[in-house]
Symmetry: C2
């Protein structure tokens, strides 16, 4: 199958490229290389079934030209802002990178008659709630512009799917960790400890408690959902029931870096405005489909730390 | 209070102007007069507390200038596309008129520190389902670009409310009818019968069954919700439990026009792609707040027909 992967040079996108190439698909990656990196996909250039286009999805004209030239059968749309804090400071970030990228992809799919879409969504669309999150949860009241950009994307994807007959697979990611990540709590802690090995300052009280999923588990889950769920519009939470507290992550990073740093908490129940301090997925739907994560949250965090340290 | 009403020259917006002026507020209307009409607000120009600006909300620079000059305390954001069929033919319509208008209003509210927002939302965000629609209903899978544009708007409104501390009132409208409407089933039937008094062609099988609300009831409901609901983020369905079938509307229009037209149905369970053939609100939340519609669905339709015919 000829597949377009948007954001394919990014953290998650590049792992997805690895897997889909292994499965003998023809892959075209479009990435503006703002968050994505050539080093994530350098090893793929030798394949004749791999093609890379450095372009911004916001350039609709260029995107239309690409769709016209390539006759894609399916799009995996992963390109987005992934830094929630940055989006809180400037709403244009998620408006453009998280939402408008999606709208442009949808417009091209409609125009060039591409009938299959995978979309990378997020727990952030659910907003802040103590309830167990099923895929049918409501109300959907995101507290970050990132969550809003993803929910706005889901909204138009739903309408395009119904109106223009586009079969759709949406998986909602938890926190994802592993090789090639570009930001997030593990990344931050390692960088902070490299500049000050004596003390680690942690935003919030350290009690934020979320599921972390290893990126290779995540990609396996995405492919599993695509292969096994056959509705016109397929939506799945993707994650594990286990969770990890921020203070546990801080401890693990200090251990793995073999430091004796003290931890200082800035206090408050969250790291920043727009942060959701805890959430828990109901995974009944994806478990019934036959998939579950191989690696639990703590082990995912541990592996990600070790890989980031080159271990 | 100094209030900006976007789309204030439109069908619903102009009725809201009438009521808010009666309550001694200072009103500035911004409207591009594409769907709105000067004749809807001509009677308001004599008031010193009323000001009209012909401008498009998509011109962010002009909107910023207006916010800078005027120091609004609150925005009632009603401007949007309201023609669902039109949006199905061209997704840019709802992307721009329904969603981008909202994003620009939010950006200006953030920039100029306006802390109160009313937003006109819709049953179309709920998608197509036979379930009774509570405000917390999920999943939200709109089947029209109009519904998507409104849900995308709600998503960013939720994030802006949480991130930049904007108190928000959202009411989700059913079908609204009455003086000054510009489109919709009653409008269509009258126009069709004027051009052919012998036969009325009705899209679908006539069984589409929805609640219709008289515009003056609706505006009273909006004001009631704003005055009585005091959370940071307030969401209410607004409507009545009674519903009216399209075939009943066809009968009523023929009766009120005193014709003997035959009705011919095109068949199928809906009028067009993106049409939701039936829905029913759970109104427990707004009823508990102390409001209910004075006029039932059939009477709302009847009044609207009579007013449209100048009776």
């Amino acid at each position: 199958m000829k597949i377009l992967i948007t954001g394919g040079a990014g953290f998650i996108g590049s792992h997805l490229c690895d897997t889909l190439l292994d499965q003998n698909h023809n892959i075209v990656v479009i990435d503006n290389l703002i968050l994505g990196k050539l080093e994530n996909i350098n090893h793929l250039f030798e394949s004749e079934r791999f093609k890379f286009i450095k372009e911004d999805l916001l350039n609709l004209g260029s995107l239309q030209q690409l769709f016209e030239e390539q006759s894609f059968e399916m799009v995996f749309h992963l390109a987005a802002n992934s830094d929630i804090q940055k989006g809180g400071k400037d709403p244009e970030v998620d408006y453009n990178l998280t939402f408008n990228t999606t709208f442009n992809v949808l417009q091209c799919m409609k125009e060039f008659n591409v009938k299959k879409l995978f979309f990378a969504s997020t727990s952030a669309i659910y907003g802040e709630t103590s309830e167990l999150l099923t895929e049918d949860f409501g109300p959907l009241q995101p507290v970050s512009n990132y969550g809003a950009g993803k929910l706005a994307s889901e909204a138009f994807i739903s309408a395009f799917s119904a109106t223009y007959n586009i079969q759709t697979w949406i998986t909602r990611f938890p926190n994802v960790v592993g090789e090639r990540f570009t930001h997030g709590v593990i990344y931050d802690f390692i960088h902070k400890l490299k500049s000050n090995p004596e003390e680690l300052i942690v935003l919030g009280n350290g009690e934020q408690n979320k599921p972390y999923l290893y990126v290779k588990d995540l990609v396996e889950g995405i492919i599993y959902v695509y292969n096994n769920s056959k509705e016109q519009f397929n939506v799945y939470n993707l994650g594990s029931y286990s969770r990890t507290k921020v203070k546990e992550i801080a401890q693990m990073v200090i251990e793995e870096m073999e430091l004796n740093a003290t931890i200082r908490y800035t206090g408050g129940d969250r790291g920043w405005i727009g942060d959701v301090p805890e959430f828990k997925y109901d995974l009944t739907k994806i478990n019934r489909l036959g998939w579950e994560a191989k690696i639990n949250s703590n082990d995912s965090v541990r592996i990600a730390i070790q890989k980031a340290l080159g271990k």
